[in-house]
């Protein structure tokens, strides 16, 4: 014991504590991150989950913080999130939300703005805003940059065109940019049952054929609604562009596609591609690693990637099927701050380059400029970087699942040949308009196609 030690007065102690708090607030992210509480992430078991798990482990290693992962099937994750955020006290701190339900979380007031939890939080300018879906204005109920920062991209999934580069090289072709080029090339390689020109995902599911159809619809310049950001939900699905898109989709399926497109889901589409039975497909980029996995694929190093085709004068228009990380409103403040610290680290270029090496799809544009993107195995990065700025946020309202259910049924019936494209578009447009009117959106519909 040192008898000469100086005893601090109460005022000195308070001043010291205040200085400590102030210093900890001003310290760099990694230094602060070392002292945050453990927190829980609720996430789905997707093909990209393993890369996310490894990224989280890297965060734990670098910072010493503890993160618990609650891993679930796709639908199970949604139910767990709903149950948690609707309770008085939430069980999960960071919610990994799919493009199909993040609007429900925003509109319902279930996630708290990152900028409200930590007003000093700076979004890395290279992070993709993915159709501005990371922002939300709770007053205007719109997703624009004027809103608050509500979430962080976790996996920026969009579809790309997968095509057989080896066959293209033999035939002296270049990657198709327009739908006309895609159709010509698909017809050229179509030789069923040995090879299908293109394999599409036409089955009815939770978000299956509709998701497959978006790049066609928007790539033809069509849309489901007139202008969601401006609050105009007039249904435009059954205009001439919609008809051209659906006719094209059906023609590809019938004349250059798989004979049973109406029953193919993502697993079957990937199966066809990795077994060498498909010349083209348009699926989410998350499937890239399966193409080069020698244990799963007969076409290792033969598949190339390109932005989804479009018509002249319209940019590539992949529909967002992304995942966002939002912080639950009903969890303790220390856990909210812990989640913010994780997101602050996760958004950096270094973390995203590391994530890419683990097999993830980076959310930061700087990672796509890193030398890693020149490596053969990451050949999908360049077309993905070209596509992401054009990604379309298909739904900006919480009742989207009702509209998706309508599209799934109508499109699947058209693909199966039960109804014509015109009947399908008119019926779907009618039903969507009814749904939007029921929820008091500013809506309307076009005269039926003939």
């Amino acid at each position: 014991m040192d008898n000469n030690r100086t005893f601090l007065s109460r005022r000195d102690m308070l001043a010291g504590a205040g200085a400590g708090i102030a210093l900890s607030t001003l310290a760099p992210g990694s230094a602060r991150a070392a002292s945050v509480s453990p927190f829980t992430i609720v996430i789905n078991q997707s093909p990209w989950f393993d890369s996310f798990r490894k990224t989280v482990e890297l965060y734990e290693k670098e910072t010493g913080n503890k993160v618990e992962l609650d891993v679930n099937p796709f639908a199970g994750s949604l139910e767990k999130q709903r149950n948690s955020v609707r309770a008085a006290k939430g069980q999960y701190d960071l919610l990994i939300m799919n493009s199909g339900w993040f609007a429900e979380m925003y509109f319902g007031g279930f996630v708290e703005a990152i900028s409200d939890i930590d007003p000093g939080f700076k979004l890395d300018p290279d992070v993709y805003s993915l159709g501005e879906t990371i922002y939300f204005d709770p007053v205007k109920k719109t997703m624009t940059k004027n809103g608050k920062l509500m979430s962080m991209p976790i996996s920026p999934l969009i579809p790309l065109l997968y095509y057989r580069g080896d066959l293209y090289k033999e035939a002296g072709l270049k990657a198709p940019e327009t739908f006309a080029e895609l159709e010509a090339n698909a017809r050229r390689f179509n030789n069923p049952p040995r090879m299908y020109g293109i394999v599409q995902r036409g089955a009815r599911g939770p978000h299956t054929v509709a998701y497959d159809f978006y790049p066609y619809l928007y790539g033809f310049g069509g849309s489901i609604f007139k202008d969601q950001s401006a609050g105009d939900y007039s249904v435009m699905l059954n205009d001439e562009k919609g008809r051209a898109a659906l006719d094209y989709y059906l023609r590809l399926a019938r004349e250059a596609g798989h004979p049973k497109t109406a029953s193919l889901d993502q697993a079957e589409v990937i199966q066809n591609m990795v077994t060498g039975k498909a010349a083209h497909t348009m699926i989410v980029i998350a499937a890239w690693s399966q193409m080069d996995d020698p244990a799963k694929s007969a076409v290792v190093d033969k598949v190339e990637f390109a932005p989804t085709p479009h018509v002249q004068g319209v940019p590539t228009a992949p529909g967002l099927g992304h995942w966002l990380g939002g912080i639950a409103r009903n969890v303790p403040d220390d856990r909210k701050r812990a989640a913010v610290e994780f997101l602050r680290w996760f958004q950096t270029k270094d973390a995203q380059v590391a994530a890419a090496k683990f097999g993830a799809i980076p959310i930061n544009a700087a990672a796509y400029r890193d030398p890693i993107s020149q490596e053969r195995q990451f050949r999908w990065m360049k077309p993905l970087a070209e596509s992401l700025p054009h990604a379309v946020n298909i739904y900006q309202f919480p009742e989207a699942s009702e509209v998706i259910a309508i599209l799934e049924l109508g499109l699947n019936r058209a693909v199966a040949g039960e109804i014509t494209s015109v009947d399908a578009l008119n019926t779907m447009a009618d039903q969507i308009e009814t749904v939007m009117a029921k929820y008091n959106y500013n809506t309307g519909k076009l005269p039926p196609l003939r």
Binding site: R82, G109, P193, R204, P206, A262, L409, N412
Partner: protein
Amino acid sequence: MASRSLAIPAPDVAPRHATRSAKSGHDRHGDDRTWRWVTFGPALALMLALSVLPLANLLVTSFYDVTWAQGQAVWSPVGLAHYLALPGDELFRAGLRNTLIFAIGAVGGQMVIGFALALLCSRVAHGRVVYRTIFILPILIPGIVVGAIWKLMLNYDFGLINQAIGLIGLDPRDWLGANETALASVIVVDIWHWTPFCFLLFLAGIESLPQDVYEAARVDGAKAWQELVYITLPMMWPAILVTFAFRLVLAFKVFDEVYLLTSGGPGTATEVVSFTLYQRFFTEDRVGYGAAMSVAVIFIVSLLLVLALTTRRRSEASA
């Protein structure tokens, strides 16, 4: 008989004694009633809490729309609107139609095959345990594994069934993706999965039948088919009806096979009510409408059960 016993003159007993006796009987009656409530009450309360209250809650919810704002539930009364919307719901209509077809087809197949297997197994002298084990294997497999097995078996490009029919020169078929075969394929999977249930119940019933009746019939020269038609089937009738009722109710609740194999498609070819309910209630989060649909489905299943039990009572009465 009753009127004769009523005609017996009352014993000539003293009124005071009778009064005292009646009073003590009344007390006893009161004590019994109290005791009954004390013992029966907790069970009744538990039953109310576990079954009646959730159903009442479902019923109440069916008259509301439930939305969320600022993290709070907003309940808006809609009267009978959800019930009135049910007949106009394309998926619900298709679901009811397909569920009826599914229930009749699947349960019919399971009953016939299960009964035949039970008869065969009951007559096997050696290796009965082995046969029983083999026959009940499908029912031991979890639904999710059954879905995986049959999704692979019925795959158009790589499925075992298409490869098998290819060996005899037939073209591959899209079993789960074609309108004409999708529901039939799901029915076949359900028959494969649930026939062991019927088999076990029927086997237990057949093995408990009195053998002396069969011996007497054989002495009278009855043939095997006569034993089946005139002895086995009539004596098994109550077991057949109970099994049918059980399976019918379970078949009406089919979900996992449709969810895993077809998601209701192509179009609405395999849409069943449980799947529609799942979509409306859980996927679309339409709690009030989903509750109304649930109440309607519970009503229909209860009706089927009452019909089956009434038929059983009538057949027992006529026997």
